[in-house]
Subunit: 440 residues, 2 copies
Amino acid sequence: MASRQLHLGAFMRPTSLHTGAWRYPGAFPDSNFNLAHLTAFAQRLEAAKFDAFFMADHLAVLNMPVEALKRSHTVTSFEPFTLLSTLAAVTERIGLIATASTTFEAPYHVARRFASLDHLSGGRAGWNIVTTSNPDAALNFGLDEHMEHDERYVRAREFYDVVTGLWDSFADDAFCRDVASGLYFDPERLHVLNHKGTYFSVRGPLNIARPVQGWPVVVQAGASEAGRQLAAETAEVIFAAAPDLASGRAFYADVKGRLDRLGRPRGHLKILPGAFVVVGDTVQEAREKRARLDSLVHEESAIAALSIALGHDASRFDPNGPLPDIPETNDSRSARERAIELARREGLTVRQLAQRLGGYAGLAFVGTPSSIADEMQEWLESEGSDGFNIMFPFLPAGLDDVVDRLVPELQRRGIFRRDYAGTTLRDHLGLPRPPNQFFR
Amino acid sequence: MASRQLHLGAFMRPTSLHTGAWRYPGAFPDSNFNLAHLTAFAQRLEAAKFDAFFMADHLAVLNMPVEALKRSHTVTSFEPFTLLSTLAAVTERIGLIATASTTFEAPYHVARRFASLDHLSGGRAGWNIVTTSNPDAALNFGLDEHMEHDERYVRAREFYDVVTGLWDSFADDAFCRDVASGLYFDPERLHVLNHKGTYFSVRGPLNIARPVQGWPVVVQAGASEAGRQLAAETAEVIFAAAPDLASGRAFYADVKGRLDRLGRPRGHLKILPGAFVVVGDTVQEAREKRARLDSLVHEESAIAALSIALGHDASRFDPNGPLPDIPETNDSRSARERAIELARREGLTVRQLAQRLGGYAGLAFVGTPSSIADEMQEWLESEGSDGFNIMFPFLPAGLDDVVDRLVPELQRRGIFRRDYAGTTLRDHLGLPRPPNQFFR
């Protein structure tokens, strides 16, 4: 086997993240609340030896205009803690990563649910720490205005300190359960946190034994300066958003450099960009699959997405023509420039560009098992990433293509495991078990 | 079959609620974090056709003196949402009731997790609404002082209105998923709650389809005036604490009378007192089992419990003698009087009384399958209850005794089902599915 190995997570919505996916031939439009489908997906991913099943999450419905909303299956689905706990019972090895917000949750609850999921799954839990950038979510939690970006990160850091402190409430050997003497646990091996900080006051201890993994694996996705620094200090996996290899390498070098300066070993944080993977018999066939998928994004919601990206009403453009010149606005310049660049590079019509943006427009590998493996290998070997969080374009066929065709090619090349070497998510990712900060 | 039927819930801690249970011969001292044991218990209860598996919960560890704490297995175990979601995957019919606090949770999260559990379990979720009376819990959620009793109930009522409103965000038929037209749901069948109240401001909608049961079953345990009224207005099951049949009948008449005055059918709220059940071949053998179990409560924690009940230091009393006369104090008079009365009635020594209070001292049925069935039938037929939430004295043997010996006796008498008639918890309890308050 090659020395560097890919780590693969599956970043899941039950019907795919692509808003047209529920209309793709063979799709299960009802997957959002159909546990049988989710169970089959998780079991297939485990059979393919994926590191983790990573559940996407949102805390609101109204995060897009209603014209787009009513066309999309992405607005409702199972809640992550409950779903992943159910999947824990029907899988044995695959990691289970849930998203929990540091802005809208209480640290005692979060510490408790992840610790419980870790016990229930035999050490397979991971916590995707998000600060929740969606202002619609604030309105569901009694806040009229969303917390300012940098303040969210200061709060996230304190939240993390409380949660990890609570996980360490009991020493690993605290529970002696000595039937003869009647001592259930050693009170000397119990730590009362007594945290009093800026945002939180939490006495502790947690009412759960120390998790199987010590701490569930900590995952983050922040890409801003504050997000990168928080990740370098605390994360063990970064779910990165790198649009291409050059920017992926720059991000990788930046974050791993931060680890060097913090004295953290580089291997203790895995960088796994999200990647949309479409497999075909030929590159052309894969592209046709993607074009067909994009064409299933309804024009109303596609044009709405394009208008948002451009900061300009796109409904008057000729949908069959090329993108006209757009005057600059005060809206996000980077989204506008990315859209214009994408249209030029792929020669897309206005409709095609709109449907791409309304579906999925980030990093994508579209080709044959061999060509995609080439790309993944290049990312791995040139330090663009330590693997990927794969997003399936449509389900179940898009997942089957990856599991049946791409994974064997990666295994043949010796850059992905043929079997799990251990039992916990930390084992799969090659991460150390954190020592208890209060007990030796 | 008789017209009135018992409903049976199992009120569970993984190692029993009795603090001596982990030391009982044959017990599993490690059940708190051993999923295999919990799975077996849930599957056995389902085979016996129990209405529900009801998970006890606490939001703090330090709710008893450390001398008692270190002797007790009741301070740590799985978190209810994660545990019940896991058990949903390994059971098919039994209801799954989780406790969630209206004082320390956010309604959007609570609405979402119960809706998700209901979808994942095919309509088996129940919400035990608690206002959390434990002041130690407040310290884990940033509150130095616990919210005042009546204010907690006003908040609970608003919390309930928000949660049920969120469950009704989508009409039952909102998700049309019309592949041809690209319409995933009908926006006319989506309700935005826009709740702005005293304690909560929640826009909605919930990002989950309407639960299978419409609403998960609503359970409450409050016994105060405010608690009874909230239950009469909103609950579908009351987990009552009735020390004997006379007080059970008084409670039953009071609450059902409140339903009459509210115009709610009496059958829409089931009153299920907690009952500790110890089965033996003879009444004498059952009593000996209980005495043996009580004797496993360590004297240190037993005396601490007695001192709390009496409002008086009991450590100087002769443990082998009868309870001496106790001067009155400012502490809870009813706990003191109950302890004195119990000691007199059963002729208990100080040690025995202390161990009873340190273990479990509420309503108990201790006898043969036939004598216990007699008692349960009397409660049922004299309107003391609609069934019971059974608490097992020790596990697994105490559960096996109920499942293998008591349940067949109840079935033989025609007062408990031989099989489930439906698939949801509402079906088991004979409760109607609530209509959506915003859509016909």
